[in-house]
Symmetry: C2
Subunit: 228 residues, 2 copies
Amino acid sequence: MNAMGASYYQFCPVAKAMELLDERWTLLIIRELVTGSQHFNELRRGLPRMSPSLLSKRLQQLQRAGIVDRRPDGSSVCYVLTPAGSELRPVVEALGSWGVRWIGELGDADLDPKLLLWDMHRNIDHASIPEGRTVVHFEFPDAPRKARHWWLVITKEGADVCDVDPGYDVAVAITASLRRMVEIWRGDLSWSDALGAGLLEVDGPEAMRRALPGWFTLSAFASVPRPS
Amino acid sequence: MNAMGASYYQFCPVAKAMELLDERWTLLIIRELVTGSQHFNELRRGLPRMSPSLLSKRLQQLQRAGIVDRRPDGSSVCYVLTPAGSELRPVVEALGSWGVRWIGELGDADLDPKLLLWDMHRNIDHASIPEGRTVVHFEFPDAPRKARHWWLVITKEGADVCDVDPGYDVAVAITASLRRMVEIWRGDLSWSDALGAGLLEVDGPEAMRRALPGWFTLSAFASVPRPS
DNA sequence: CGGTATCCCCGTCGATACTG
DNA sequence: CAGTATCGACGGGGATACCG
C-alpha cells in the first residue's frame, strides 16, 4: 500500500488519496474496472489513447496500492477491484456527475465513434430487445470515411460492435451526426427532442423505431440533473 | 472552460472532469477553498510544499476553467469557488472518506506539526471554549527541536498558532508524540483511548482537562467508519 | 500581502515495434 | 490475448530569488 505517485507530505486523507489517484489515466482505469471490464485488452478498448506499456505500469501500481487484484484465470488474466478499489466507485460517480453538469463543451476530438459504440454495446437492456438477433446500423455522415458506418449485433448472449457490414438484416438504421449521438448518450439531448428537431433519422419498422430508445441504457450520468 | 491539463480525447464526463483535476496539487487547492481559505498566503499555509509560482499557475488555470473566481477585495484578493467549484465538495469528500479508510499508514514525513496546528486552529468549537483567552500548549517530544513546542491562543475572535511561547498563562498542556496527535486528529485514535493507554499526557486543572476534547472539531473525516 | 521570474532537471508520457 | 522493450521530447514542477 504505497509508492505510487509523488508524496504531498501531508497526513490529510484527501492528499493521501490523491498521491495514488492523481496520475494521468489512473482514475479512468478505475472507471473501466467499476464499469465491469476485466481483461487487459478490454481495458484498452475503453482507453484507446493509452499506450499498452503505460496501462501495464498503472495496473502494477494499482496492485501494489491494494486497489486492484490480478487473477490469472486459465489462459487469461482478470483484473478485479479489491474491496478498497470497489469503494472508489463513489469517487468516480462524484467526478462523472460533476463533469456532466459543468463540462458541456466537447471538442471534435472527443467524439470517438468507436468509444461510443463500445459504451453502447455494454449498456444494452437485453430484457427490452426482441428475440433472436437484432442489428442496429449507425451512420455518422460527419465522421471520417472509415468511421462512418457501424453495426451493433445484439443477441441474448451479448452484443458485438462491427465497423464492417456483418451482412445480417438490419432492424433499425440510425443516421445522425456523431456529436448528436454522443449528446444523446450523455443525456444532454433526449431521443424525442432529437427526433422532433430532425437531428436524428431512424429507419425501420414502426414497432422497432418505437422500441429503440428502450434498448439502450444511456450513460450512467445521463440522468444527472443539469444546472440552470 | 477549457485548456488545463492534456486531453483524454473522450466524451466521458469522468474523463472530462479529470482533464481539469488530475494535475498535481489541483484537488488539494479545491480542498483548501472548500475548507474556507480565501487568500493566497492562507492557501500556502495549507499547502506548504507547493511553490508559490505553481500555486499561482493553478489558480489561473482554475479561473479559466470556471472553478475559481478571483475577487480583488480592497487591497487584498479573495479566491472563492464558483457554483461549479462548490459542487466539487462531494468529490473532495469522497476522496477523503476513501483515504481515511484505506490509507492508514502515514510516513514520518507526512507528520507536519505546523500543518496539524494550522488544521486544528481552524476547527475549534468556539462555543465550547471558556470566556476570555485560552492557551493550549503542545509538546511533541519526537519532533525536531524547532518544531517541538506549539501554542494555540484561542479567543472569541479566532485562534492563532505560535511556534514561540506567546507568554500567556497556559490552560492545558498536551504532551504526545506527533504521530499520536495526528492519529487523534484524523480519528484513527480517540482522546480517551490515547489517555487510557498513556499515549498522551494532559496537564492542567481537572475541569480544563475534561473539557479539552470538546474544544476541537477533529478532521472532517475523523467520523468516517473504518473497515473491518 | 500577493504574487512573478527564472532555471534546470528529471520523470512521464506518447509512439511504435515486437514477443510468448 | 497479454503484455515488454525501447526511445526520445517535452514540459511539469521543485527550488529559490525577487518585485510592487
